[in-house]
Symmetry: C2
Subunit: 401 residues, 2 copies
């Protein structure tokens, strides 16, 4: 069976979940799912390890006696994960079995995956929430439903040993692809050419992209390229311009997410123009300062702030995104964000950084007439700081063509 390595992760994450339920003083974490290939709770691959078709309930208990309730056709499928010993099948409806299994455990609270602020902790559909309310109507448990919040965030954030090994592998592969891409960049190749080249590198290795294939990589050539999550255009590389690329691979279900910036030396140049170098140095300083500050217990917004203040000091326009996000099974892995206290980040910048979380550190700036300087590094949080998962780009890569 192919399930064995996946089972390791599910077992590691279920063990973490029990610890976290205890920390949070919650007896039961309840995941609901159906047709999860089409739209699945982001916690499913971590703590369930397979998709399901019919309405399914996964009861993860602080006492460790987890039970899965699934349509009969999914029973073998869930058993084969090797992580769920107790799998109950139903034929006509899930309601009665689910009520019984909850009542047996008489939990102090039933934590559900919903969150206004964090998509990763918001895996329960509104319809399934209403369905659960119907099922628990006239029971004392209807009133014990609570927002799981910290539970899915922490289960996802604290990378297990198997998860960290996979992320390191995805980053290592990305490093190989940066090397070949750097050799490929030359005058006349378009953003679309660079994107196709990098897609070829992925296809050769039978790997997926870290986010939407259409705009992973995001390639920004020269000063006239549109900014943001955007597919590659026909704009072609010219000497005397910047090329920046945002790219990540998905390898064994885990992601990388990095940005690199290249400068194509003009015929008379021996190094990139001072203005370009000045912008690069500011971004480098901002990323390095954030990396020096980050450690367990620091709040997300504080890490963003140290970098943002350097931009301010230099009179640069502030960048419109968070400094960093968590990365793991999803490229944007939810939980604490290293971001400003803006409405769109909700409560996430207020979260505290924890050991074994993996973050990006990323900033971009336009240099008028040249293009974008964009950098993004991947780090893992250690006992007292962080470790870069690949050597960070500390200097602008000047290409002579």
């Amino acid at each position: 069976m192919t399930g064995s390595v996946e089972s390791n992760i599910v077992r590691e994450k279920l063990a973490q979940a029990v610890e976290i339920l205890d920390e949070q003083d919650v007896d039961l974490w309840l995941l609901l799912a159906r047709e999860s290939d089409t739209m699945g709770d982001p916690s499913m691959p971590l703590v369930v390890g397979t998709s399901v078709t019919w309405e399914s309930a996964f009861l993860i208990s602080r006492a460790g006696d987890h039970v899965a309730i699934v349509g009969t056709g999914d029973v073998e499928n869930v058993k084969q994960t090797g992580a769920w010993d107790q799998v109950l099948g139903y034929v006509e409806g899930i309601g009665a079995v689910l009520r019984d299994e909850i009542a047996k455990r008489d939990p102090n609270a039933i934590a559900l995956n919903y969150s206004k602020d964090d998509n990763i902790a918001d895996g329960l559909s509104h319809g399934m929430y209403l369905l659960l309310c119907d099922i628990l109507d006239d029971t004392p448990y209807r009133e014990r439903l609570v927002e799981a919040g910290a539970i899915p965030r922490k289960v996802r954030g604290r990378k297990s040993p198997t998860e960290l090994a996979r992320i390191r592998q995805a980053v290592a592969t990305t490093e190989r692809i940066w090397e070949s891409t750097q050799r490929y960049i030359k005058p006349g190749v378009s953003e679309q050419d660079i994107s196709s080249f990098m897609h070829g590198e992925l296809e050769e290795r039978r790997l997926g992209s870290s986010w939407d294939w259409k705009y992973c990589p995001t390639v920004t050539v020269g000063p006239n390229s549109p900014i943001g999550h955007v597919g590659p255009t026909e704009i072609a590389v010219e000497l005397g311009q910047l090329v920046s690329i945002d790219f990540g691979v998905n390898e064994d279900e885990y992601s990388s997410d990095m940005q690199r910036t290249y400068y194509l030396l003009g015929p008379d140049e021996t190094e990139p123009p001072a203005e370009v170098q000045r912008h690069f140095a500011i971004i480098d300083e901002a990323i390095q300062s954030a990396a020096k500050l980050i450690k367990p217990g620091v709040k997300g917004w504080e890490v963003d702030d140290v970098a943002r203040k350097i931009f301010e000091r230099e009179g640069l326009e502030e960048w419109r995104f968070a400094l960093g996000h968590q990365m793991g099974r999803a490229c944007h892995d939810g939980g604490t964000v290293l971001g400003p206290r803006w409405e769109r980040y909700g409560d996430r910048p207020y979260g505290e950084v924890e050991k074994d979380e993996v973050y990006t550190l990323e900033i971009g700036v336009s240099v008028p007439g040249y293009g974008r300087v964009n950098l993004e590094e991947d780090i893992v949080i250690t006992d007292d700081g962080c470790e870069f998962l690949a050597p960070p780009q500390r200097e602008l890569i000047a290409l002579r063509r």
Copy 2:
């Protein structure tokens, strides 16, 4: 840009949506999304045509003036779909812009994608629902939120010309793979071997499976194989046994879903045993009777019932699934189901069949000592009946090895 064919579908579906809003007397259909690569409303690929990262709102208006509100980093991405002319970007938060755009339209109702019964119409997370309630608090629109129900179901169910062409292509490819798989089946090859062979056929064509790769195909060899959605085992093919396979491809984002059954003739047999043939004939009769009955206006449960009654008449144990589900972008495409009026199907068996919907017709039964007879056909609803998308399997395929 690669977006052009996808844009056709989005334009076709947006035009259908306007018609359906009119039929339902609803002014506004509102889709909310964020990090939609990780967990996205199933309606997104149909009417939006791209993924988004930050909180996003897609207002589809009965008047036809649709507007997308997205984080600035997603603006170009949504514009590139070619289907959304009006794309508004925000930096700090979506709330104010969304309130304004809704107020401008002053809709009689705002339809949201949630449903207790149907995952395809249940793309709104509970957290985003609560967030929207906060945003619309103190406006008259908070009270005008309604369940979209029929809107996403009908938009998804009524296949457009481009969609039908893609489904036909996926079915045609599946036919090719049945042919090669039939040649591959012989004594000694295991369920895992057959699965690997079919995965190879997909990889060679650079295609995905219609559902979870792990159990697509689902291969059932002989009488001792576990039933349901289950990965292939080491059980090997023997003469005098049945081999049944449930399989579908995903080609250009559209699915097929078929089942075929083979019998391996024993050394002294010239045809499959009478008992096996009897079971096959009953399933064939049940599927053909359902196909004769189905047409626009018939209710889902009525189609299931005609097949189920034939099983009853013959004294066979009833099969534990619906006779058929819709098929399209997702293998299980939601909406009306051809199923019994069981709790787990909610209101879906009560839906009326419509023209241009695509359904499966599928039944399976165990023949003690031999294995499973499983058949599944794909049909499209016409003005006054249905058309099989591939010739149905009308006879047990007897293999002489």
